[in-house]
């Protein structure tokens, strides 16, 4: 796969744009369509394109499978942790109103954290599944 010059050049041009699009969807989800789920999928799609063109080895060299495992749990922890923090502050699970003095600011902060958790888990889990599938290719 690495011998295709046009594919490599085009991928190198496209991948930063896809990753940027993923970040945009992640942090712009409050204003436009999108959110953590879509952002995570788009972000992982960019990195999967990298793995398809330049080889899985190059990807797992920059992002080891170990890191992906940690990140995929970290997102869930961030989501559930936000809920636990609101409980410790004296409210219900995932009641963001208590995260700041102002209820609206609290909602903003809570939704931001929760969406970030979703994005991290989705992106890393998709990459993890892809890495496991692609790694076994032709080995057994």
């Amino acid at each position: 796969m690495t011998d295709y010059l046009i594919l490599r050049v085009t991928a190198k041009f496209l991948i930063p744009l896809i990753l940027l699009m993923g970040l945009y969807v992640q942090f712009h989800g409050e204003l436009g369509p999108g959110g953590g789920f879509q952002a995570g999928v788009i972000f992982s799609a960019g990195l999967i394109l990298y793995a398809l063109v330049f080889g899985l080895y190059r990807l797992t060299q920059s992002i080891p499978v170990f890191v992906l495992k940690v990140l995929s749990s970290l997102g869930v922890l961030l989501f559930a942790g936000t809920g636990v923090v609101t409980m410790l502050l004296g409210g219900e699970f995932l009641n963001y109103n208590l995260l700041a003095e102002n209820a609206v600011t609290g909602q903003h902060l809570g939704i931001f954290l929760v969406e970030l958790g979703v994005g991290i888990t989705v992106a890393s889990t998709m990459l993890l599944i892809f890495a496991v599938f692609a790694d076994q290719e032709g080995h057994d």
């Binding site: 409050e30 999108g34 080891p64 599938f133």
Partner: protein, 197 residues
């Protein structure tokens, strides 16, 4: 009127693609057709002005699901052309009966876009009225998913997490050192590639 034409055309394409997925014998082509199916579904959601759902369908259904299916396909042994089995009378009867029952069930469904249904008279009105004020977030879908229905979304994330865990346990668990195996097997060729490139 124009919406009716667009919807009918999209649904017709959807039907054609669905039949093609079943009829085609090559798995690779079937997977591609599945991607096309998702893209058409996303277009229908766009016509319905459900931008968030369309976005998810396009990114997940047409994008990542297709790639993951292809990656899974690459692991399968070489395809064998299977003889098409004939004379399966009872399966056809069963499938037809199920289909008829399902279509019968849709008769009780409310009309398309009917504003008087239970779904539209319940909490939806409250969300529309309160969501922008209570959360200060213009995109109502985000505020419902992340705040009002936060617990549901947590469950959704846990499903994704569990899926990754399952794949790791089934496929990755056999060889615990998945990373080191990659290093030893593909490291050489990749390094030489880097020097020449």
């Amino acid at each position: 009127m124009i919406e009716l034409i667009v919807n009918s055309a999209l649904l017709l394409f959807l039907l054609i693609v669905a039949i093609a997925v079943v009829r085609l014998r090559q798995l690779l082509v079937s997977v591609m057709m599945f991607g096309l199916y998702s893209l058409l579904t996303a277009s229908i959601f766009v016509v319905m002005l459900a931008a968030d759902v369309a976005f998810t369908e396009a990114a997940v259904g047409a994008g990542i699901a297709t790639v993951l299916m292809l990656a899974a396909l690459a692991r399968l042994p070489a395809e064998k052309e299977e003889a098409r089995s004939r004379g399966q009378f009872w399966p056809l009867v069963l499938v037809t009966a199920t289909g008829v029952l399902l279509i019968y069930g849709t008769i009780d469904m409310p009309g398309f876009g009917n504003a008087d249904t239970a779904a539209h008279r319940g909490v939806a009105a409250q969300y529309i009225e309160n969501a922008p004020v209570e959360t200060g977030i213009p995109n109502m879908v985000t505020s419902i998913l992340a705040s009002y229905r936060g617990l549901d979304t947590l469950g959704e994330v846990l499903v994704i997490f569990t899926a990754g865990l399952g794949v790791l346990l089934v496929l990755g668990g056999i060889h615990p050192a998945i990373g080191s195996r990659l290093n030893s097997q593909e490291g050489q060729s990749s390094d030489t590639q880097e020097q020449s490139g």
